[in-house]
Amino acid sequence: MTDTSLEPAAAPSPVVAEEATPRQPGAPMIVFEDVTKIYEPNIKALDRVSLTIDKGEFVFLVGPSGSGKSTMMRLLLKELEPTSGRIIVGGRELARLKRSKVPMLRRNLGCVFQDFKLLPNRTAYENVAYALKVQGESKRGIRTKVPEVLGLVGLSSKMSHMPDELSGGEQQRVSIARAFVNHPPLLICDEPTGNLDPDTSVGIMQLLYRINRTGTTVLMATHDREMVDKMRRRVIALEEGVVVRDERRGGYG
């Protein structure tokens, strides 16, 4: 751990300063402040993690299985509560968010998973439309936005296919389309290329890159060494629940 190089942006003092004015442009998208998560009885998934991710960043979260990547994702979705510490997403402290407001949080937070998590009995179109329906989008809005975003991910010709009629890469595109259809400020991806072959993965990465270019912050947990080395983006490495490395233009390590 001697080679750990924390950048100033992740140090505690600027975090506190920025947090006082959370809604200003350039304010951080995600702030973790001394976050510890212990799964009962005594499994420490995250140990005093502090980090800041700014708006518009593209961040890789790397580390071996069990290092706490998925726990971070689930904390961001408020699927779990931290044992101690503060998590601030888009200027809102998650602990202060009422349970009834959690759906609102998730509508502003696209998420993509390794296993796609598509609804099995719905077509690609309906899967994307569902994310709009849950927030009361009008029929007209659905009719224009869904084909648009499916076109963006390159699935215009397969809108009426069921998930099991699509390849893995295509299913992941549907799930990215679903995550992006609201144009959320933050997209979190939990090993989105974990089930895909290298060529397909490149396509998915290009898609995420394009989404990032529209201004969406992308946080992506991954095991894909090649991809991380090629992209040269910010890399945060976790090991046994501790941030061991945080580099602006890092490699997998």
Binding site: P103, R106, K117, L119, N121, Y130, A131, V134
Partner: protein, 298 residues
């Protein structure tokens, strides 16, 4: 707007899980048919035992010239009136009917003409038929006329038979109450469990819905509506089956028995149907709502 969305979502879910939906509906049909059958049968039996109990009366026989022994006379008007007053004052007594000696003879003549053919004088006493509010009270009424007031020869309420009738009625009543309780609980559990299983099979779907930002009610609505539809369709089929049983099977059975007493009847069919439909709707909606609670905690 939202209701329409829920309906289409519920219909879609039934359509895409058709075999589960049919299985759940059949469970409702069976459960509700049994429930309806038991209610009909049970209320009929209760009504029958009540009818039997209604036939339990206390007879108060007055002295004739000879019946009360030497030195005692036929009971006079004053004595009879005194007994009547005493009876009417009892809270258990519903009605007191006077049967004169002539009427008694008339009744006897109708029942068994051979016995009264050759008699020269009327040997039968005048009597009161005391009708209690509840069949169980006959012994209490009789006990209050002990020892017999002046002019009363004897008080009779068919002790042995009454005891047996009351005991049978009690047992039948208990069986009905326990049986229907068991049946209601069993059918409710059966239906709730079927719904539970069908939701359990789709818990990943619920998880996904929650992750894309659906509120609990948005997830719950279609599921509960589906439970309602299952309950409605299932109980309607059960009602139709029960109606067929009532119209076709029942007359065939009744013809072979002498159960043609108009006083004895089951709970009215529309009421039974209403209970069946109500129960299944409640179980369908609440069952799915409660089951979902566990999966919604994401």
């Amino acid at each position: 707007m939202r209701t329409k969305l829920f309906v289409t979502e519920a219909l879609r879910s039934i359509q895409s899980n058709l075999s589960t939906a049919i299985a759940a509906t059949l469970t409702v049909v069976i459960g509700m048919f049994l429930l309806g059958l038991f209610i009909a049968l049970g209320t009929w039996v209760l009504s029958y035992t009540n009818d039997v109990k209604r036939q339990l009366i206390v007879n108060v026989y007055f002295c004739t010239e000879t019946s009360c022994g030497v030195g005692k006379n036929e009971a006079n008007q004053r004595q009879m009136e005194a007994v009547r007053q005493q009876l009417v004052a009892m809270p258990e007594v519903k009605d007191v009917k006077f049967i004169s000696r002539e009427e008694a003879l008339e009744i006897m003549r109708e029942r068994s003409p051979a016995l009264v053919e050759n008699i020269v004088s009327n040997p039968l006493p005048a009597s009161y038929q005391v009708i209690p509010h509840r069949g169980e009270d006959v012994s209490a009424i009789a006990a209050q006329l002990e020892p017999p007031p002046v002019g009363v020869e004897k008080v009779n309420y068919g002790e042995k038979e009454a005891g047996r009738v009351l005991q049978v009625a009690k047992v039948v009543g208990a069986i009905f109450v326990v049986g229907s309780a068991i049946l209601i609980v069993a059918s409710v559990l059966l239906i709730a469990n079927t719904i539970r299983l069908s939701i359990f099979a789709r818990r990943r779907e619920v998880e996904v819905m929650k992750l894309v930002g659906a509120t609990n009610w948005f997830v719950r609505g279609p599921f509960m509506l589906e439970g309602l539809m299952t309950g409605l369709v299932g109980s309607l089929v059960a009602v139709v089956l029960l109606l067929i049983a009532k119209e076709v099977a029942l007359p065939a059975v009744i013809q072979r028995t002498d159960l043609t007493n108009d006083e004895v009847r089951a709970l009215a069919f529309p009421l039974i149907a209403l209970i069946m439909i109500g129960t299944s709707l409640l179980v369908g909606a609440i069952g799915s709502g409660i089951t979902l609670r566990r999966f919604l905690k994401i």
